[in-house]
Amino acid sequence: MTVEILIPLLTAAVISGTPILYATLGAMFSEKSGVLNLGVEGVMLTGCLTGFLVAKASGNPVLAFCAAGLAGALTASLHGLVCLVFQGNQVVSGLALTLLGTGLANYFGTAFVGQAAPGFTPVPIPFLADIPGLGPVLFNHDPLVYLSYMLPLLFWLFFTYTRFGLNLRATGEFPGAAAAAGINAVAYRWAGVLVGGFFMGLGGAYLSLAYTHLWTNNLTAGRGWIAVALVIFSFWRPGRAVFGAYLFGGIMALQLRLQAFGTTLPSSLLLMLPYILTVAVLVFSSLHKKKTGAPAALGVNIEPRD
C-alpha cells in the first residue's frame, strides 16, 4: 500500500476512532466502579443529539460539547436509579437504556435530519503538523481529538495514583471491603455511572459536532457496542483502549474506502467488518482467562444494609 493511501487511512482511523475512545473510556470508568452499563449506545445517541441541538441553537460548539456530556450523564443516571437505588439487574437496565436512548434520539432528531449545525473544524498544531507522515495523521485534527489524546493518560493516573481512583476501584472490586474501610461505595458507584455517562455522551457529541456537522438518525451506528467490547479487549486499562479504538476506527475507515474504490465485495460484508472484529476481539480476550483485570464485583449490585 502506498503512502498516498496509508496516510489518509490512518488519519481517518484516528478520526473515527476518537468517538469510540471517548465512549470506551466512559464505559471503563463506569465498570471500574462495578456498574456494567450496556446502554453506551443509547447514552451516546442522546449526547449526540443534545450536542447537535445545542450547537444549532447557540452556535457555540464548546457549550454544545459540554451539554452533550451532561445529557449523557443524565441518561446514565436512569441506569444508576435502576441499579443503585432499586437494585435492578444491570444487564437488563443497560439494554433498556440503549433502546430508550436510541428511541429518544430518533423521535426528537427526525425533524432535523439533513440539517447542519456549527461544529469543530481541524486546527493543525504548528510545527507538529508538518512532520511528514505523523503530522497529518496525528496533529491535523479538531481540538476534540487532541483532548482525547490526553484522556487515557489522565484516566490511568486517576485510577492508579489517586485516592479517589483507588476508592473507585475498591468499590468495583469488593464494595463490602470498601464500605468497611469507610468508603461510601454507593456514592462512588454513582460517580462511576455519571462520569462514565458523561464521557459516553462526549463520544456521541463528537459524531454530530466534528465527525459530521449534519444530523442523521442513528449516527452512532453500533459504536456504543464496540465500546462495550473494547473495555473487555483493553483489559480495563486506558492505554490499551487507545489501541483498540484506533484499530476499530481504522477498520471502519477502511471499510468506507473499500466501498469508495468500488470493490467487488458486497457492501454488506464490508459493513460487517467491525462487528466481525468485535467478535474476534472478545474471543481473543477471553482466551486470557487469568488476569484480564475485570473488576471482581462488576455487574453485582450492592445489597442495602438490613
Partner: protein, 513 residues
C-alpha cells in the same frame, strides 16, 4: 504511629474499657443474644467460647457496629455509646477481624491497608509502602507492602486485616474464629502477634470453639450457650481442655473417639507415581474399612492430589485406580451411589450452591436416586431430605432455606448428610471439621468412623489431633510427596510427624542436600 501510646493511660484492672450491659438481640423468633453482660479489659484477652449458633458472632457484631441491640447498652470507658455503623465503632477504636476477609484481591497490601484513609488527592505509593512496612515490623509481621493480596496465603491475608485495624489505631480488636483458616504454624504466629498487642495495652476479644487455643491465649473465658453467657472463668483456673469442654457442652466430651477395629477389605483407591501440578510422585493404597489421614501444612500438594482423585484435574503422570477402575473410566461413567464421595474444604463454593435452597443442594449429588426418565422426583427427595435434616440436626430444619443462610457447621452437616446418603465406597474428606464446634466435630468424626465399615476414607486435614483420633494410617505430605506413611500404632513414628510436616525428617536422616 508505630508507637501507640497506650501504656500511660492504662486503667486499673477494675476499670473495663468496654462494658456490655444486658445486651439482647433477636432475629425474628430466634433470640440470638439474651441479657448478655461482659467486660473487656485493656491488655488482656477475652475468649468467647461456644458452639455454632451460640450467639458469639451476633454479640460481637453489635460491638463492632454491624448490628444494633434490641435492648441493653454498651459503655466505652464508662460512658454509654451507640454504634449505629461500623465507622462509628472503628472511630471509637473497635475493630473486627472477620472470618471472611474484607480484602480487595486485585490490590496490593499497602493499598488495602490505606484504603479509605483521608490522605489528600495523590496516593504517594512509596510512602504508603514505607508506612505499612514500619507498621508490620512493629508487630512482628512479615508481609510485603507491594504484594498483591490475591497472591497471599490465608495467614498473610489475615495479617493484612490486622494491620488495617492497627493502622486505624484500634485499641479493641475482635477476632472472629481467626484460626479456622490458618495452619498450625500460622496460628502460632497469630498468637504471638496477639500477645504483642496486649503487651501494648490493646484489648482483644477472641471468638473460638477450639478449647486448646482458648486455654493457651485467653485471660478470661466467657462461655456462651443458646444466646446466654452461662459461665465466666479465668483461664488460669481451668486445669484442662476437657474440663473446659465439660463446662461448655454441659456434658463430658470425649476428645478421644471410640474406634472399633474394622477388618480391611479390598483396595478402593490406588495411587501410583502421581505427578504434576506440584506433586512429585505419590504412591499409596487405601482399603475399604480404613481411614488414611493425610496431614501436612497447607500448600504441600493437598489441593492437586485431592483434585486429581476427585476428577477435577486430569492426572498428568502416574495412575489412579478408583474402585478397581482406571481414572478415565471411573469418571466417564459415574453412578450416584456406592461410589466416590467428595467432601470438599470449600463448603460454600465447591460443595454447595449458596443461592439454591437446601433441597436443591441435597439433590446436587443425589439426584440420581430421584429420577424417573427425564423427570426429577422432588416429593420423595423432599421427604428423604427432611428426615436427614432432623437426623443430622441441621438448623434451621427447613428445606426452603438457602444454603448461604446456614452457619458453617450446619452447612457442613448438610454436605455430610448428603454424601453419606449416597452410601459411598470411597470418601475423600477435606478438612471435614474445620470451623465446626466440638459437638458437631464429634458427630462428624463418629459418622466418618461409622462410614468406614463400608468405605475407604481419605482424610485430608491440617489438624493432627483429628488425624490421630481417626486414622488407621497417617501419611505426611511435604513439598508434593509423601514424607512418610505411619501406622497409627507406631508411637515412635507418630512422634516424627511434626518434624516431617516441617520437612525436617530428611535432614535428620541424611545430611545430603
Amino acid at each position: 504511629m508505630t508507637n501507640p501510646v497506650i501504656g500511660d493511660q492504662q486503667m486499673p484492672a477494675t476499670h473495663p474499657v468496654i462494658r456490655l450491659d444486658r445486651l439482647s438481640k433477636s432475629f425474628g423468633s430466634v433470640q440470638a443474644n439474651k441479657d448478655i453482660s461482659l467486660e473487656i479489659h485493656r491488655g488482656s484477652v477475652l475468649a468467647l467460647l461456644g458452639e455454632n449458633g451460640a450467639g458469639k458472632s451476633t454479640l460481637m457484631s453489635m460491638l463492632a457496629g454491624q448490628l444494633q441491640p434490641d435492648s441493653g447498652h454498651i459503655y466505652l470507658d464508662g460512658a454509654p455509646v451507640e454504634f449505629t455503623t461500623t465507622d462509628k465503632a472503628l472511630a471509637a477504636g473497635i475493630g473486627m477481624v472477620y472470618q471472611h476477609f474484607k480484602l480487595v484481591e486485585a490490590m496490593t497490601v499497602a493499598e488495602n491497608i490505606l484504603l479509605g484513609q483521608p490522605r489528600g488527592f495523590w496516593l504517594g505509593k512509596a510512602s504508603m509502602g514505607r508506612t505499612v512496612r514500619r507498621l508490620a515490623e512493629a508487630y512482628g509481621m512479615h508481609v510485603k507492602p507491594d504484594a498483591l493480596v490475591a497472591d497471599l496465603s490465608m495467614g498473610e491475608k489475615q495479617q493484612v486485616e490486622i494491620l488495617k485495624l492497627l493502622y486505624r489505631q484500634s485499641s479493641i480488636l475482635i477476632f472472629d474464629e481467626p484460626t479456622a483458616v490458618l495452619t498450625p504454624a500460622e496460628a502460632d504466629s497469630l498468637f504471638a502477634t496477639m500477645r504483642r498487642m496486649t503487651g501494648q495495652g490493646k484489648a482483644i476479644v477472641f471468638i473460638s470453639h477450639k478449647l486448646e487455643e482458648v486455654l493457651s491465649i485467653a485471660d478470661t473465658i466467657a462461655i456462651l450457650k443458646r444466646g446466654e453467657v452461662i459461665d465466666r472463668i479465668s483461664a488460669a483456673s481451668i486445669p484442662s481442655a476437657s474440663e473446659l469442654a465439660r463446662r461448655m457442652v454441659g456434658r463430658p466430651v470425649l476428645l478421644q473417639v471410640n474406634k472399633k477395629p474394622v477388618p480391611t477389605r479390598q483396595v478402593v483407591l490406588k495411587v501410583a507415581g502421581l505427578q504434576g501440578g506440584g506433586l512429585r510422585g505419590i504412591d499409596f493404597e487405601l482399603r475399604q474399612g480404613e481411614i488414611l489421614g493425610l496431614v501436612g501444612v497447607a500448600g504441600n500438594g493437598q489441593k492437586p492430589l485431592v483434585e486429581s482423585l476427585c476428577g477435577l484435574r486430569r492426572p498428568r503422570q502416574g495412575t489412579i485406580r478408583l474402585l478397581g477402575q482406571d481414572w478415565k473410566h471411573f469418571f466417564s461413567r459415574q453412578t450416584w451411589e456406592k461410589t466416590l464421595s467428595y467432601v470438599p474444604e470449600d463448603r460454600q463454593g465447591l460443595a454447595t450452591c449458596p443461592s439454591l435452597d437446601l433441597l436443591d443442594n441435597f439433590l446436587l449429588t443425589t439426584r440420581g436416586g430421584f429420577v424417573r426418565g427425564p423427570w426429577l422426583q422432588k416429593e420423595p427427595a423432599r421427604a428423604r431430605a427432611e428426615k436427614l435434616l432432623i437426623e443430622f440436626d441441621i438448623r434451621p430444619p427447613d428445606l426452603q432455606t438457602f444454603a448461604w443462610q446456614l452457619s458453617g457447621g450446619n452447612l457442613q452437616k448438610l454436605v455430610l448428610a448428603r454424601e453419606f446418603f449416597r452410601k459411598p465406597r470411597l470418601i475423600v474428606a477435606e478438612q471435614p471439621t474445620q470451623g465446626l464446634d466440638i459437638a458437631a466435630a464429634e458427630d462428624v468424626w463418629n459418622l466418618l468412623l461409622q462410614a468406614r465399615e463400608q468405605a475407604g476414607i481419605l482424610l485430608v486435614t491440617g489438624d493432627l489431633v483429628e488425624a490421630l483420633a481417626l486414622s488407621d494410617r497417617i501419611g505426611v505430605l511435604f513439598n508434593g510427596s509423601l514424607a512418610g506413611m505411619i501406622e497409627r500404632d507406631d508411637p515412635k513414628g507418630i512422634e516424627q510427624i511434626p518434624l516431617m510436616m516441617a520437612g525436617l525428617e530428611s535432614e535428620a536422616s541424611s545430611s545430603a542436600p
